[in-house]
């Protein structure tokens, strides 16, 4: 009886289940080449102004790794009209927050303000692009700050170096072989002139995408955008020509050490195609199948049933030019690293040989639909996605349509992609071991 009441209630509640939301936006180019995306959301009196520059760690000179991230720090040091040390003060005293982040592929800056400060946000971002002040003094301070950032996030943290070890082995030619934070000696060697040249080359409107999202009026916003960004001169065309990797055809193995750990870890890492490809999305689904949730294959087998691992899973590191697919496990008790790998391999072979069950397939679809709804839950998140889909994928509307790609992926494709990329002769096996420096 109880049960029937429940389902009645649920029927009442959810008879009108709507389709997932659509993110409306408008996009256009300024005459200097800057791309502009506007999104209106009046649910809260908030506005986001953000700029994504298509420059990241992979655009650095090989002997100047860490430059892109370092430069991100420098661009908070002040502009012609914003004095050194004033940037953060302006933001917080206007009730806003701001930050920036750098990946191998792009650099992203943003401010979040109460909606009546829209013009302020545009002014700040245009100041940053038009005439930042880059001086030796700022370089010297930020050099120390970045080193502390590395100590904090990498050197003093357990399990923080595995990506570094994986990448330096998986990539031989492409700049993905380095880390975003870079080598400290490279930063020490970097001169002021090099920073100025970096700015001149990459921080130009034709390499930038501006997003304004929130409680805004399009006509007013467009005028302001034109006022603040329109007069900024176009820069030279940027051509990107990164070296191509040769396929991995023989198994590789390596060891990496971490003084902050006691329990080792094992990783199997594969080089996979660009995140723009359909195959990369199929690999996302395979990761989810293997390790998302307590009923996922690797968790259930290695952690729950066999008690061989403390943690086990799959990560698909999606990047613009290539991806890195990493399977990993931390042994429980006395389990040997090699045994974890062979258990994982067994599951990979199953995916490569048989189709996953209809039920598991439906589960994946439900998960991706859930992720899709949640990915657009905050206007900050929407702004970031709009910029990312334009800059990285060249198709802003993927914010609405990417879910259709996932929906169209078949069980057969999952099997075939696993067969194509996840073979022992295409991978690096990395033993991640405890050791004092």
């Amino acid at each position: 009886m109880k049960k029937s009441i429940l389902s009645l209630a649920s029927a009442m509640l959810f008879a009108f289940s709507t389709n997932a939301q659509k993110v409306d936006f408008e996009e256009y180019d300024l005459s200097n080449g800057m791309h502009v995306i506007l999104h209106k959301d009046t649910s809260a009196p908030v506005v986001i102004t953000s700029v994504m520059y298509h420059v990241g760690a992979k655009d650095e000179q090989p002997d100047r790794t860490g430059m892109a991230h370092f430069f991100e720090h420098l661009l908070f040091e002040g502009t012609k009209n914003i004095k050194k040390g004033e940037w953060f003060k302006i933001v917080s005293s206007n009730g806003g927050t701001n930050n920036a982040n750098t990946t191998d592929d792009r650099t992203y800056y943003y401010e979040i303000f109460p909606s009546n400060k829209l013009e302020l946000g545009l002014w700040m971002e245009s100041e940053r692009l038009l005439h930042p002040i880059i001086k030796q003094e700022g370089v010297d301070t930020q050099n120390e700050v970045v080193k502390e950032e590395k100590r904090l996030r990498v050197d003093n943290q357990p399990y923080s170096r595995f990506l570094e070890y994986v990448k330096e082995n998986i990539f031989k030619k492409h700049p993905y072989k380095g880390t975003t934070i870079g080598k400290m000696e490279h930063l020490d060697a970097a001169t002021l002139d090099e920073f100025l040249a970096f700015n001149k080359k990459f921080y130009v409107p034709n390499n930038a995408t501006l997003v304004v999202a929130g409680d805004i009026d399009f006509a007013t916003t467009k005028k302001m955008v034109q006022d603040y960004f329109g007069p900024i001169p176009r820069g030279a065309e940027i051509t990107k020509n990164f070296p191509k990797e040769d396929p991995i055809t023989a198994p590789m193995s390596a060891k990496g050490y971490d003084p902050n750990i006691q329990i080792p870890a094992i990783m199997a890492a594969y080089r996979t195609p660009s995140m723009k490809t359909r195959d990369s999305r199929v690999l996302d689904m395979i990761s989810s199948y293997l390790s998302s949730g307590k009923s996922s294959v690797l968790y259930k087998k290695l952690v729950d049933n066999k008690k061989m691992a403390l943690q086990a899973g799959a990560i698909n590191v999606s990047q613009e030019d290539y991806g890195t697919y990493i399977l990993f496990g931390l042994p429980q008790g006395e389990t040997k690293l090699a045994d974890i790998i062979s258990e994982i391999d067994e599951e990979i072979v199953k995916i490569q040989t048989n189709l996953i069950s209809e039920k598991d397939y439906q589960k994946l679809q439900n998960k991706f639909e859930n992720n899709f709804v949640n990915s657009n839950s905050s206007v900050e998140g929407i702004a970031n996605s709009l910029a990312r889909y334009h800059v990285m994928f060249g198709d802003t509307n993927l914010i609405n349509t990417e879910i259709d790609i996932f929906r169209s992926i078949t069980r057969e494709e999952i099997r075939d992609v696993a067969k194509k990329y996840l073979n022992p002769n295409q991978r690096l096996t990395l033993e991640y071991l405890p050791k004092a420096k």
Binding site: A9, S115, R151, N370
Partner: protein, 682 residues
Amino acid sequence: MKTKIASLIALFVISISVNAQIDRSKMPEPGPDPVVKLGKPETFKLKNGLQVIMVENNKLPRASASLTIDNKPYFEGEIAGVSGMMGSLLGRGTANITKDEFNEKVDFLGASVSFFSSGAFASSLKKYFPEILELMADGVKNSEFTKEEFDKEVQITLDGIKSNEKSVTSAARRVEDVLTYGKNHPFGEYTSKESVEKITLQDVKNNYNTYYRPNNAYLVIEGDIDIKATKKLVKSLFSGWKKGNIPAYTMPATTNPKTAEINFVNMDNAVQSEIAIINNIDLTLGDKDYYAALMANNILGGGGTARLFMNLREDKGYTYGSYSRLSQSRHAGTFRATASVRNMVTDSSVVELQKEINKIRYQKVSAEELENSKEEYIGSFVMNVQKPRTVANFALNIARYNLPKDFYANYIKNIKAVTLEDVQNAAIKYFRGDKARIVVTGKGIEVLKNLEKTDYVIKYFDKYGNPTEKPEMTMPIPDGMTAETVVNKYLQAIGGKDKVMAVKTTMMVANATVQGTPVVMTMKAAAPNKTSQVVSVMGNTMSKAVFNGENGYQEARGQKMNLPAEQLAKAKDGNALFKDLGYTSGKLLRIEPLEGKNAIVLQYKDTEVFYDMASGLKVKEVETSKTPDGKEVKTPTVFSDYKAVNGILFPHGIGVKMGPISLDLKVSDLKVNEGVSDADFE
């Protein structure tokens, strides 16, 4: 037609903007303040005590449920970690469903359900929410605890503890809590290997039956829901959750030290020191000076524009970020000012942190700082107030803290009312730089020497917060390293033994200032073992010391004196050109950090010689001698600024300290195999 007009207007607007240039030298003025609309939640209470807060928001087709069991904290004692373990074991099978079925169902719906010792959380798409809420309710009411799952969880917890054993940050947080609250306090106790091994399955069941009860619980449901239907659903799912009898517990009082002290925790693998200046406070949300305290903390260390950040990061570059935090609590609040800094600047960072804490206590903040801080809070309030999660949190706080219903309606007004005096009073009351524990977790060998120079008493603790002894201040000497390998590495570093052996004479002219007077020193040396030193001021020879390999004398102000037997013997024993050649018969003492680098220390007779471990270069010598009355005197000589002459590196900066006098010699001329004759040693 309508669109045409619109685009015409747009064109017009753009054409104006082309003509009228904006003045970008001025910061743009804000538009009119946005209107703040406080959302209103729906609330009701079940007979078992569970209070339900619902917020409807139809922006996305999803919903979530968040359960908070707001019991007063209690002490777990020798089975510390039992509640955490109970929380992890919740939802692994109930009277109605097996664990695997439960997990499969949740995952299949692409949803998530999680449990913890003080509540639970569930979220899903709108269409699956009733099913998901039912699963959550089932786990809350009917969880079963099996031996198998319990054993597994014990193992995972133990491995988890092990995996964090070397983590500097987790050791720091643990010890900070132990020292701040005390080991016998619910906030000070921690889960250890020993305590986990003591926990039994029955303990876990008891914990669930005693504390996981609706008496003090709140359920917040938010999202694309129908209020009426949801109320009905919650009633049917949670009415059966039985009220319990939660034991009374009196929390021990916390105390601050009488005067500020350093509590040091040694971690050999630390590359940064974790610094936390902590004192206990009595501050609860809604207190009269709550907003003043918020402003004071925000100005001191609230974020990237606060004083700590501007000083320690933007000005000094000591850290990636330095912050302070004022944790209000109905039970035991704290103030903390923190920074993770590189080893070398640990002492300076402690000094700067304390300086900032004292400054905000003894001097009023500026009107501008206060104004900016108020705007920061008001802006954040304005931006968040309409978000469904905020609406729910506000309602939850009003209920938990028993606040007036208009508490948040008056938020902006109350923030604006804070005065400069209020801020200072709050700073004096809550930031006790004078009675703080300065907990430093770091690498003793690299940071203690300088920390000892601060005025604070230093107490030592192990990484579990137990009092201990000061750590050993040396590092083990690597296998295979001997006096000979060290000296050879040095010779290699300065240019190679061949080149060194080809040197017959050296002549060096160095300048220094002694008590304001410029002094020139000329030093000559020749093989096999001849030396001379002449000190002159403005062209006049002030003193002279000569040794010809057999005999020697000193001359000062016209007084000539033969070298005493002791010094003569020492001179005879040395090598005038490269003393280090003789050091191969010395012995290695220890490794000592020196200016952020490690030096290997070699003892040769009464001299300790420091060679940089990395570069191999000699960085320092310390000679110990005895005064006539038997006191030991140490004379350190520091070498720096190595430059090549004839392919050999010579230090061009030499610092000597003799008692209160320090001499900073800068070498202005250095010649090899020229400018020296036998006459110089007569």
